[in-house]
């Protein structure tokens, strides 16, 4: 007698496209649109800016927003809109590179620790504890004091500072995946460690990590802005959003728009990245969503 396999019709959940599920809340849609607008505006800065960001016009200093100067002008009469467009290249460039560094380093760190276990795990994770035992901004100040502030050093410093938190999450993800049946099966089938780690575990832990990357980027924007605001960002005449915010704040009694626009844009950038990160987490990884 051969058992005839009874076909069981499992209810297959309707899989809508990822993008549509992602944007199914109004907040996430708004965030995605804003992200595209901001990134496009910053990337196409030379095409959009009608006035060069360093064109000085002292007779129109602290001009309020107008058709000629959408965001008004600064203390030297420079067009704030142009300066914001070009400043975004520093802010988003540094934050983007820092995010890549934090993710690469953090994931490698967490994966090695979680997969190796034993003393190596212990040492690596205790080092995470040490770095996370001190507020990020303190280590940031020390490192900027030592390395100086350029686009290159700031990206590395911020990336380094954000990697331990990522390592913790990556390690937790690896440990969770290692428990699963498919991993056990892969180990039993003799899949080599490296392939198990990067061929099997990484794709499965991917969703958690992608969502994490968006949240890291939000933190990176904020840290860059904080450092610039303290006067420890990239050196003049280059100016990131944080630098513009600082200069606007210094002239707060002369012009409110000068401080308002950089502040607003920094807030929007952080909000967008946080919102998309939370949403990505909810969609890609429903089990672990907050």
């Amino acid at each position: 007698m051969t058992a005839v396999p009874v076909p069981v019709a499992l209810p297959v959940p309707k899989r809508r496209g990822l993008a549509r599920r992602l944007l199914s809340t109004p907040q996430a849609s708004v965030a995605a649109v804003l992200l595209v607008v901001v990134v496009a505006a910053v990337a196409l800065a030379p095409l959009i800016a009608s006035v060069p960001p360093d064109a000085i016009d002292p007779s129109h200093a602290f001009a309020p927003p107008s058709l000629a100067h959408w965001f008004g002008t600064d203390e030297l009469g420079r067009d704030l809109f142009s300066r914001m467009l070009y400043g975004g290249r520093y802010s988003l460039g540094i934050a983007g590179c820092a995010t890549v560094i934090a993710m690469l380093l953090g994931v490698a760190w967490g994966f090695v620790a979680g997969q190796a276990g034993g003393w190596l795990d212990e040492v690596l994770m205790r080092f995470v504890d040490v770095v996370m035992a001190v507020p990020i901004i303190l280590f940031g100040l020390i490192l900027v004091a030592a390395f100086g502030a350029s686009v290159f050093t700031l990206a590395i410093i911020i990336g380094l500072l954000l990697s331990p938190a990522t390592a913790r999450i990556a390690r937790a993800a690896v440990l969770a995946e290692l428990q699963s049946d498919y991993c056990l099966a892969a180990v039993a089938a003799g899949v080599p460690r490296g392939r198990l780690l990067f061929g099997e575990l990484l794709p499965n832990a991917g969703p958690v990590l992608i969502a994490r990357a968006s949240l890291v980027a939000a933190d990176a924007v904020m840290i860059e802005a904080s450092l610039s605001f303290l006067g420890l960002g990239i050196a003049a005449p280059a100016a990131s959003w944080g630098t513009l915010l600082q200069q606007g704040y210094a002239n707060i009694f002369s012009s409110l728009s000068y401080v308002a626009f950089p502040g607003l844009v920094i807030f929007v950038a952080i909000w967008v990245l946080n919102t998309l990160g939370d949403r990505l987490q909810a969609v890609l990884d429903p089990r672990r969503a907050r």
Partner: protein
């Protein structure tokens, strides 16, 4: 319990020691010699003069010797001498620690005073208008970085309404009224930033407790829901919130650095920023270590307090460690 405290204390001391090594190494090994800055930054400075200054500051000794000199001094209460003002770091830190403590304490108390009533208000009618307003307030304040909150408050209260000064500090002893006036904005900034996570956690914690049987009993025997919430649910919900408060104090210490700088508040935070700008490593390394120590102390205090308040935790730890 004693064992637990001692072990946590040991870990904290070890962490602090490692932090001190990292801070020291980062500041010494990397480029940026303070002597050049000290002598005016000119390239053609007389080498003999440089050597003399380096010797005075002890920079010509080996790194381990310098590190030992620093730590030995710390342990004996000599925090070092500022490279620039030639004053001892002891007096600098002593001057600065008062304002920072005042700011941080007022901020955390204010944060709790903001968070607890709002959480209870929100929990009274889950999903009601108050709950939604509070939830909105939490998400917004969590997304706005503290320095933006500071700027908004300054624009509102200093530039527009001209009610409060935008920056400055006078000691409480000389001018209590002025001190409080200048304290309001920085303390409120930090309090708002700190209140959001506390509020969010306490609200969730209240919702958890609200579902428990004893609260149903309380309601069943006729206790008004509001009183049941405050007298029965709140004490239990506050317990796990304590950890969040502790973590928030830690984050507050990071926020203090930026906020003090914005408001010209002469605390430890602005001392750190200024010593970074001047490359005054002697002041920098010690003040950062101070801040890190304070941070670790908060974490330790919360852990210990938690164990004292909640006996279940001690038992669980004992079971786990045996």
């Amino acid at each position: 319990m004693i064992n637990f405290i001692l072990r946590r204390l040991g870990i904290s001391v070890l962490l602090l020691a490692i932090v001190s090594v990292i801070v020291f190494v980062v500041l010494r090994v990397l480029p940026g010699d303070p002597t050049i800055t000290l002598l005016g930054g000119a390239q053609g400075t007389d080498p003999a003069q440089v050597a003399q200054v380096r010797h005075q500051l002890g920079l010509d000794r080996s790194l381990p010797a310098q590190y030992w000199q620093w730590v030995d001094g710390l342990l004996h209460g000599h925090l070092g001498i500022s490279y620039f003002s030639q004053t001892s770091v002891n007096s600098l830190v002593a001057q600065r620690i008062g304002p920072t403590l005042e700011l941080a304490l007022v901020a955390i108390v204010a944060a709790v005073l903001i968070a607890v009533p709002l959480a209870v208000l929100a929990a009274l009618r889950p999903g009601g208008p108050a709950d939604r307003v509070v939830a909105f307030f939490t998400t917004v304040t969590m997304a706005v970085p503290p320095f933006l909150v500071a700027i908004i408050l300054v624009v509102l209260f200093a530039v527009r309404l001209r009610l409060l000064p935008s920056r400055g500090y006078v000691p409480f002893a000389t001018d209590p009224g002025g001190n409080v006036q200048m304290l309001i904005l920085p303390a409120l900034t930090l309090a708002l930033a700190a209140a959001a996570p506390i509020l969010r956690f306490l609200r969730a914690s209240l919702a958890d407790v609200a579902e428990s049987g004893y609260l149903l009993t309380a309601e069943g025997k006729g206790l008004p829901w509001g009183r049941a919430l405050v007298t029965h649910a709140l004490p239990n919900a506050l317990l796990p919130t304590l950890t969040v408060v502790g973590m928030t104090i830690g984050q507050l210490l990071g926020g203090v650095v930026v906020i003090e700088y914005i408001f010209g508040w002469p605390g430890l935070g602005s001392l750190i920023v200024n010593s970074v700008l001047k490359r005054d490593y002697a002041v920098l390394q010690t003040s950062v270590l101070f801040a890190a120590g304070a941070f670790l102390l908060c974490a330790l205090a919360v852990d210990v307090l938690y164990g004292v308040i909640d006996p279940r935790l001690r038992v669980r730890r004992k079971v786990a460690s045996s």
